[in-house]
Subunit: 769 residues, 2 copies
């Protein structure tokens, strides 16, 4: 390949173009768009210039409302200006968006599209936010992948300069913003050849300038406002043509072709889905798979959603189409249909395409998985005489019965793709190491590669999942690795075994790597029954490494990430062992270099010690364990905790039916008492002999794990012998009072803050880790 | 009539119900909804209780964002809570609206729907703001008249208590919010019988309460958010039935019947318009008129826009319908169609009503007039083989050619309606007096009555127009009095004659009342040619009164309002003269009572002196005047000033075609220099002998009318003899320097602030008024 290929996520892919094409960037962080602002801020702080040699001014405001105002103001000075946002952040920009559009100002917003807080907040991706601004007069351009986010960032800018209508460029929050994929990078020279400097000059000439004053932002009365609101019509009529021309110029420069409405599938398709965003990739790949099997199906990907070009849409649709399913990644309660569905219904009426049966449905709210099986379920529905409309897909709606049945065994993964799932603990470094791994694979081998990382919004201390795929063809699978599909499963925390069903992801004949306190000879008996069963039934190769020990010995403390990463490369053999180790060390230097030589050295040692400690387990032939996996919550927990919260804790939230949930986001309180995460490998132990009863450990514990109490000796009657207590040292409660510090082991995360806080010198005694 | 009838505007009609049904009212003023907040604030400050005997807490916040947050918070405590807003104010409430709806919280917002600032701000009415929140999950209930605003304020509250879905009740800003009309008032007892206290108890029981804690406002992940977002579906499905039931219960109590979609017209109509808001009244009245003439036409009024009930809509539509025109009072540039249009297209598809030709159009943006002639133009368009779609009506769109032609002579005013137009100067009291007049007519006679008041947003010092109608039938005409339709035209400012074409409103045989400096014998020759011509051609009865003189003599200063009001009653004879005078005096006491007895007494004197000073003019047979009406701007003005700003100044803005306007709201500066309003009756005169050259008059003049200059004597060479100047008193510029104060008479408003500021004692000499 001549072109530079890089492994980056959607946020960086977008910011890379936006930063090079901007002079002013007004930001306010909101998940999942924060990455774009952070990259831009970092690059500007390091003096990285834009395409014209000046360093973009990055301004963080007090809110997204302020950021939008700054954008509007900067645009009026003629500056090339952008912002990055999502969700409520975008909602706060609405008033300014009307103004920017009404004044026909060339501008681009980049949005990592996200759900909106209704019954509950969600930081995850869907199109509720961008749909909430579709009336503002902005063009809406949708990217469906990391490559498209990179490319459309440029195309949006090309088009807005020509059209004067501002562009909102969006892609799916998390699914695209946080997916790492291998893309062709737009070079500065390519960007330069795409952007027309004459149009920038015209943009500048329209600026407010005291030397050439004009009035903008007037107040108008009934006599003239309406006429002026209609005066912009020709500009909107021109946008589709301008956007298509930009895409064609882009194709000439880069070889990557896009259309306003891109049709994929059978040339004489009878059943077609219409879709926008990352789900479009899934739809296209599924359609290709089905067409190869002889089905007459197709998919229309919507790139330019606003202005909606009736003409281009009708042209994209094969003449043979008999039925259409429109998929909206949004929900507007009370609407007669979701937005894209209504547009398609109208396009068929106005475009004079009668007799096409059209249904609409919702999918993927808040990054709900959208899989090939779901695409197939939708296409299957179109085969029915009376297909459901206003359906949902991806959930079990046992209340309004909107949901379609999905076949979980329908898999379209192409030959040669290697899928790997890694389970880590939030903040244990697993995600970071896996990001490095997939970048190494993507950039140092001929493989295409994809990484997606799932973290609970509890962040630190909960399970993280890293989904890595690589193979000889571009990875177009914007969904998690499906059940029974992973060639490689790694468990970076031994304690997960008893509560997370990890091996459901493993393929028959796959590999399981376990970070184990127990060696290859003794580990088997320490596995729960379910794990033994899966290993046997799926004929898994089973490796262990005592990452805890290696980490401790090499001074890495609790961080096993480098060790597990090395083990992964050693087992998988993607790269020759030496090359892999060299790349891991390069990544370590890049990641930890700024923390000093000692840290880098410790990591290097950990890498080197890994190989000698990695062992394959000879899997016995039979199930020996008596231990079963723990219930997520105990049986004594209230019904709602068992049926809803317990299922969520047990990673089965996706399966909970609609009927199980409160209708208005109201939950019972005090339910965390039932979630015993039991994640600490070592817990503090109270040394009653040394304790000065200062209570600092109680105060600093972030999880309220340590409690202390002064109480009358009388209460000790009948206490078990092992119950520790000492006489109270408190002046007010001395004679006849006892004192106890009690630790709740299952709630402890092992963070060691209590030990840091303890003022007694002999720390090895006071609170041994 | 048994029921209490009152003359109030839409804001008061709404606030009257909202205040009685609320415990917390969070407000932030924004035109045209401010009236609702002001009424509520005033009533609470006076201790007026709600229906349950407690005084609503009215809280003014720092912005509408804060008001929405306050509403959300108060609702969560179980308080009955509301707010009033419009336009950008409503936009700032969007994030909270999603939350309030997502949590299924019974609440009502009252919105005086208004345009949104795009190329320019506008405080006037349309549906852009409510359409910008149609995706938030709120029910949207539309009132089309003052009576409906009153009634639907109650129906919205009834429905939200039952449905738990929050209701946004809206009506057209200015057109309904500021129209005074005669309505049946809902008594406390009626309201009590409408509201179900058990439902309020349930609302309270759902409150956040530390004694019975629940968790609300959680953060959710991809596993469960989607399911919970769908859990509300049954609540939305139920809303239409609940709203219709509320309307039926309301009808039982009040006798006033409403439906979700109200059909009016021929039972076998072939052409139908679908419309929402005040334009619906115009559509219905026009349809009735045309049906009476034998046309098969009809109108569907949309009351409950969200949730959109497909079933109710289809049921409302006669089976005979062949074509439909959907009228949207909004514009969403780039959309494939406006919102209501898309809903109707989809309803016909899903409701299986094929073969109905459907077109959509925009009307009435920013309170653009929407008249019976426009309704007829739309219905006529449906008669064509290839009717325009995405049309506009009410403007001349010579750019995109979207506009329909309208016949200005199509008038449907029923027999017996008396129409009166009054021209006053902003802040001269004309509007206030006319409000009193129409209230007197509506409340003290059997007449139905309507008052609508148009003021420029320049407010003080510009032309105000009062449009009053009354007659034996309810006045359902939410548009200005049309050309040649006014039975009575009054000009309260003599100087308007030379720049405003007022008599174009006058009906043949109507009456013209002029506040004139000249008596009945001399006035004729002081009228411009155009005025003489109109009086003669239209055979107008012509009255004059020297209101200026009467005002000065009775100590009223510049305020002629009471005098002109008295003259109106005297001439029109609506009430017996004595009764009219008694009512006017009652109104004076009510309006000015708080300013003290002296003010009331002066007004009484003015009333009494009016009758003896009011004279009918014997209209001569011929045109005698050589004076023509002034051009709004001089011929030397730049082209744009002549063609656009001049037309606006000359009250012909409605006729300016789209092509004349800038596309992006950009105007040239320095154009006020061309608008010579010439409205001061008396101007300051510089007394160079007394002047101490302090310059205070220059500083205080709010219109920059007074300039002073120190200059070299040399510059005086060739100055006209009348050019006033004195030696400069400035130390730095003494010998050889002159000083002049110059007044620009045409720009002066006669406000007298310069005289107030002048420190020289002998005020009668320094700056005589």
């Amino acid at each position: 390949m001549n072109k530079q290929v890089i492994m980056i996520d959607g946020n960086e892919a977008t910011a890379s173009v936006a930063h090079r094409l901007s002079e002013v960037i007004a930001i306010y962080p909101i998940t999942p768009s924060s990455g774009m602002g952070e990259f831009a801020d970092e690059w500007s702080s390091k003096g990285r210039p834009n395409l014209w040699g000046t360093v973009p001014l990055v301004i963080e405001m007090q809110s997204e409302g302020g950021a939008a105002g700054t954008v509007h103001g900067a645009l009026q000075t003629g500056a090339l200006t952008t912002t990055f946002t999502a969700s409520q952040g975008l909602l706060l920009m609405i008033p300014n968006m009307y103004k920017i559009a009404g004044e026909l100002t060339s501008a681009v917003f980049h949005v990592a599209a996200r759900a909106i807080a209704a019954h509950a907040l969600s930081i995850y991706g869907d199109h509720q936010d961008v749909m909430a601004v579709r009336q503002t007069g902005w063009a809406l351009l949708s990217s469906g992948s990391v490559q498209e986010a990179h490319d459309f960032a440029a195309i949006a800018q090309m088009a807005t300069f020509k059209a004067r209508v501002p562009f909102l460029h969006f892609f799916d929050g998390f699914r695209t913003s946080h997916e790492v994929n291998k893309i062709f990078q737009l070079s500065d020279d390519e960007l330069r050849s795409l952007i027309d400097n004459d149009l920038i000059r015209e943009h500048r000439a329209r600026a407010l300038n005291p030397n050439k004053p004009v009035l903008r932002g007037s107040a108008q009365n009934p006599d003239v406002y309406f006429q002026m609101r209609e005066a912009v019509n020709p500009y909107y009529t021109a946008v589709p043509g301008i956007a298509q021309a930009a895409m064609e110029k882009f194709a000439k420069v880069t070889g990557r072709h896009y259309k306003l409405f891109d049709y994929f599938g059978h040339p004489e398709a009878e059943r077609v889905v219409v879709i926008m965003g990352s789900g479009g990739e899934t739809a296209v790949e599924t359609v290709k798979y089905l067409v190869a099997k002889g089905e007459k199906v197709g998919a229309v990907l919507v790139r330019l959603y606003r202005p909606f070009s009736l003409e281009h849409f009708i042209k994209a649709l094969p003449k043979s189409v008999k039925s259409i399913a429109v998929l909206d990644r949004t929900k507007e309660p009370g609407a007669s249909g979701e937005p894209l569905y209504l547009d398609v219904v109208n396009a068929l009426v106005e475009g004079n395409r009668p007799g096409i049966k059209t249904i609409g449905g919702r999918y993927g709210l808040s990054s709900k998985e959208f899989t090939p099986g779901m695409v197939k379920a939708v296409l299957d529905e179109l085969n029915k005489t009376a297909p459901k409309t206003h359906f949902t897909v991806g959930i079990n709606d046992d209340v309004s019965h909107t949901s379609l049945n999905v076949d979980p065994t329908f898999i379209i993964e192409p030959e040669g793709v290697v899928s790997c799932v890694f389970f880590g603990l939030g903040a244990d470094g697993t995600v970071g190491a896996n990001k490095n791994s997939i970048k190494i694979i993507g950039e140092e081998t001929d493989n295409f590669a994809q990484g997606y990382f799932y973290y609970d919004s509890k962040k630190s201390g909960t399970v993280t999942m890293s989904h890595l795929r690589f193979g000889p063809q571009p990875i177009r699978a914007p969904y998690l690795i499906e059940l029974n599909q992973a060639n490689f499963v790694a468990c970076h925390q031994f304690s997960f075994l008893e509560r997370v069903d990890m091996l459901k992801y493993a393929k028959t004949g796959g590999t399981f790597l376990l970070n184990s306190l127990y060696g290859p000879d003794e580990v088997w008996d320490h596995l729960p029954v379910e794990v033994q069963k899966d290993i046997l039934e799926k004929k898994l190769k089973f490796y262990v490494i005592n990452g805890y020990e290696v980490a401790e010995k090499t001074g890495m403390g609790g961080r096993m990430n480098t060790i597990m990463q090395t083990a992964f490369f050693a087992i998988s053999g993607i790269l020759p062992r030496d090359a892999a180790i060299a790349e891991i060390k390069k990544a370590i230097e890049k990641t930890y270099g700024k923390r000093g030589e000692a840290v880098v050295k410790r990591n290097f040692e950990a890498v080197d010690s890994t190989l000698e400690n990695l062992c394959e387990v000879k899997v016995p032939v039979g199930i020996t364990s008596k231990m079963t996996r723990r219930l997520p919550v105990p049986k004594e927990a209230p019904e709602f905790v068992q049926n809803v919260l317990g299922e969520i804790i047990g990673f089965k939230g996706d399966d909970i039916p609609v009927s199980a949930f409160p209708v208005d986001g109201t939950f019972p309180t005090g339910t965390t008492q039932w979630e015993k995460r039991n994640i600490a490998l070592e817990i503090p132990v109270w040394d009653e002999k040394l304790c000065i009863q200062c209570g600092k450990c109680v105060i600093v514990c972030p999880h309220a794990v340590i409690r202390h109490k002064v109480y009358s000796d009388v209460a000790l009657a009948g206490a078990p012998e092992t119950f520790k207590h000492v006489p109270s040292k408190f002046k007010e409660f001395s004679a006849g009072y006892a004192y106890t510090v009690q630790v709740a082991p299952e709630d402890c995360t092992g963070c060691t803050l209590c030990i840091e806080a303890c003022p007694v010198k002999d720390k090895t005694q006071v609170g041994r880790r």
